[in-house]
Symmetry: C2
Subunit: 99 residues, 2 copies
Amino acid sequence: MDPTQMLSRSEEAEQFLKQLSNKTRLMVLCSLLEGERSVTELLDDVPVTQPVLSQHLALLREAEFVATRRSGQTIYYRLADNRIIQIMNLLYGFFCADN
Amino acid sequence: MDPTQMLSRSEEAEQFLKQLSNKTRLMVLCSLLEGERSVTELLDDVPVTQPVLSQHLALLREAEFVATRRSGQTIYYRLADNRIIQIMNLLYGFFCADN
DNA sequence: GCTCAATATTAGCTTTAACTAATATAGATT
DNA sequence: AATCTATATTAGTTAAAGCTAATATTGAGC
């Protein structure tokens, strides 16, 4: 591969992985693997304060790893990137599968 | 999953991903996907200075993502973690496959 | 229109990651 | 043993990520 392209592709991949490299975001994404969740539901699953969760959700939105849907004052999050589903399944196998 | 376990597993996964989340390390690992390489050969592939490459190689060794073999004054690096091979192949598909 | 519940944003601080520059080690060669 | 080549390490600086605390926004219900 041409060196300039290799560099820019590895920068993209770096960016992608960094957006994923956080325990709170990983727990959120893992929870969303099971389906749509409101912020309040995520707060039950993930041991962080509301503002911190909200900051991480903002990052996941900007990365377009998740998408949202509003219903009244409740906002539902869901996975929106097929790459994330693939990576999360792989990580689940590495770190969470019981065997 | 029990909340304490979920937290500690997501911390492990975070650590694992962070060790991977760097363009230089990604280029090194990508190069090693094709087989063993000496540091000098890696320097030809990866656009960084020798001390910087060496720092990243040290990190990859500590993470046990790679292993080494010495032959005279030359040190050869190779991939040593099957999880890395799986993730790198996935990332290659996401960011480097031409289609 | 006021109040409450759900969610988001901003500022300030601290920690961690990565770079540069200089130097060190270790094996090979003369 | 002196020198060269290959590789590693260390110290110092800068930049980026994540937290806390405070506050803002938005929709619902009275």
